[in-house]
């Protein structure tokens, strides 16, 4: 079983197994957004709840919201994206955006596995 799950909003959520997760956007999402130029990070300690906007990802053309796929608290942000947001274009799965401490690990059960996500993007 992979420890990576997916949301319908094209995010990936990696379960670290210690009550924390890393959240990034999928390759499909980066492809749709195009060249990224800025990622606006939430403040550390921000409480997030499912479906809420937590960050804004800006490409050359437009700004897009990142929606929280789980409930929890932001405990770390990927600071290397401040200077190099294009890292996400280069490898979306290897470059997480925020680290979140889960309020309830059962939230992960509501997310999709890789097969289900791939099916969604092929539609």
């Amino acid at each position: 079983m992979s420890n990576i799950k997916y949301s319908a909003e094209h995010e990936w959520v990696q379960d670290n197994g210690d009550g924390t997760v890393l959240i990034g956007i999928t390759d499909f999402a980066q492809e749709q957004l195009g060249d990224l130029v800025f990622v606006e990070m939430p403040e550390l300690g921000t409480e997030i709840s499912k479906g809420e906007e937590i960050s804004v990802i800006e490409s050359v053309k437009a700004a897009s919201d990142l929606f929280a796929p789980v409930d929890g608290t932001v405990i770390e942000v990927n600071e290397s994206l401040d200077d190099e947001p294009e890292l996400i274009n280069e490898d979306a799965m290897a470059n997480w955006i925020i680290k979140v401490e889960l309020s309830d690990s059962k939230d992960l059960d509501d997310l999709m596995n890789e097969d289900a996500y791939n099916q969604l993007t092929e539609e």
């Binding site: 195009g34 130029v37 800025f38 050359v60 053309k61 700004a63 401040d82 294009e86």
Partner: protein, 374 residues
């Protein structure tokens, strides 16, 4: 991406865009390429370093024939058309009775006719406007059978010279009929990127072969509308519907340079165009707001529609175009502010998602213009 809308029009290069893997989006009623697999950033940089090929066939190409075509067109633009020499091109604006801008356009004296290029989104309105005012003395013909390609960038001249060496005799804002790939094409040395380059009016049935020939040159890449927008923004050029609209005059738009001296108060043919009273009064007495270049401090882009506020958080202006200046590796914008805030170096704030982003008023263009003037 939903692009199955059957009402969308296509250009003669549509199949080529698909073949090249373009992302197609609806734009001004056409299914147009916003980017190719290279992506907007690389397309932008390629145009600044070598040469980019753009399909701008969605724009309107109109010719006006008749002995008094220039005189007649002067009723609609605050620009000297009568003394425009043969083979010369000039930037112009259709004004309305209030002095606002109905569209911006290029006018070329092609000898026995005037050749106009107008914006895609405005072309139906412009054709109607031209017909209303000029149909009597002139003949107006819309060139539906011609595509328009733009080749832009420092290598454009070299690429064009290989197709027809006569292109090297042209300088910025001149026109010539060239033979490209065996086909007679009407070419101007101009564009919308701030770079040297050409716009090529080519019969529809020959457009694809010419595009392929140009793309065969190692210096040339196909460039989409995404990079076209970031290039023109860096070049400080207005986009209709953003910097220009029916409520905005050329004086407010910082386009005084486009108002020919001949058509001003002190000129030999003052006024005589729609909205002349308003525009001449503004030239004499000034305006309340004007278009300026804006540089957000920091990395966050400030987009079109963002409000500009003063020290008391009062809304004083608006951003009309904003994005990322790829060559500058920094966000850039243009917008309107009251004249007292329009001085270069003035610090202002914009509201982005209810947060303040500091902006500085800067000189336009953001990048040096590379036009070829001989």
């Amino acid at each position: 991406m939903v692009s199955s809308d059957t009402t969308l029009q296509v250009t003669p290069l549509h199949a080529l865009h698909q073949e090249l893997g373009a992302k197609l989006v609806p734009f001004a009623g056409y299914d147009m390429p916003v980017q190719y697999p290279l992506g907007i950033k690389k397309e932008h940089l390629h145009t600044r370093e070598k040469a980019g090929l753009f399909d701008v066939s969605h724009m309107g190409q109109v010719i006006i024939k008749g002995d008094n075509a220039a005189l007649a067109l002067e009723q609609l633009v605050p620009v000297d058309i009568i003394d425009l020499p043969k083979g010369q091109q000039r930037y112009a604006l259709f004004t309305n009775e209030q002095g606002g801008v109905m569209d911006d356009l290029m006018v070329t004296n092609a000898g026995d006719h005037l050749f106009l290029v107008v914006n895609a989104a405005c072309k139906q309105q412009d054709i109607k406007h031209l017909t209303n005012y000029l149909a009597e003395p002139c003949e107006i013909e819309v060139l539906h059978d011609y595509a328009l390609l733009a080749l832009q960038g420092p290598k454009a001249a070299e690429v064009m010279a290989r197709l027809d060496s006569e292109s090297s005799q042209m300088v910025f804002m001149t026109a010539k009929t060239l033979t490209l790939n065996g086909v007679s094409c009407f070419v101007t040395r101009s564009g919308y990127t701030g770079e040297d380059g050409f716009e090529i009016s080519v019969p529809n049935q020959h457009a694809k072969a010419l595009a392929r020939l140009l793309l065969g040159d190692e210096n040339v890449e196909m460039i989409g509308l995404g990079a076209r927008d970031s290039l023109r923004l860096e070049a400080g050029l207005c986009l209709y519907g953003h910097e220009l609209d029916n409520q905005t005059t050329p004086v407010e738009a910082s386009l005084i340079w486009a108002l020919s001296k001949t058509r001003r108060e002190e000129g030999t043919r003052p006024g005589g165009y729609l909205g002349a009273e308003v525009i001449m009064q503004q030239l004499a007495n000034g305006v309340e707001r004007k278009r300026v270049g804006l540089k957000p401090l920091g990395k966050m882009p400030v987009r079109d529609g963002a409000e500009i506020i003063d020290e008391q958080d009062k809304v004083i202006g608006v951003v009309t175009s904003g994005g990322f200046g790829v060559s500058l590796n920094s966000p850039i914008a243009m917008g309107y502010v009251p004249v007292k805030y329009a001085q270069v170096g003035t610090k202002l704030n914009a509201l982005v998602r209810n947060k303040k982003v500091e902006l500085e008023v800067v000189k336009l263009p953001f990048v040096k213009q590379n036009y070829y003037r001989g």
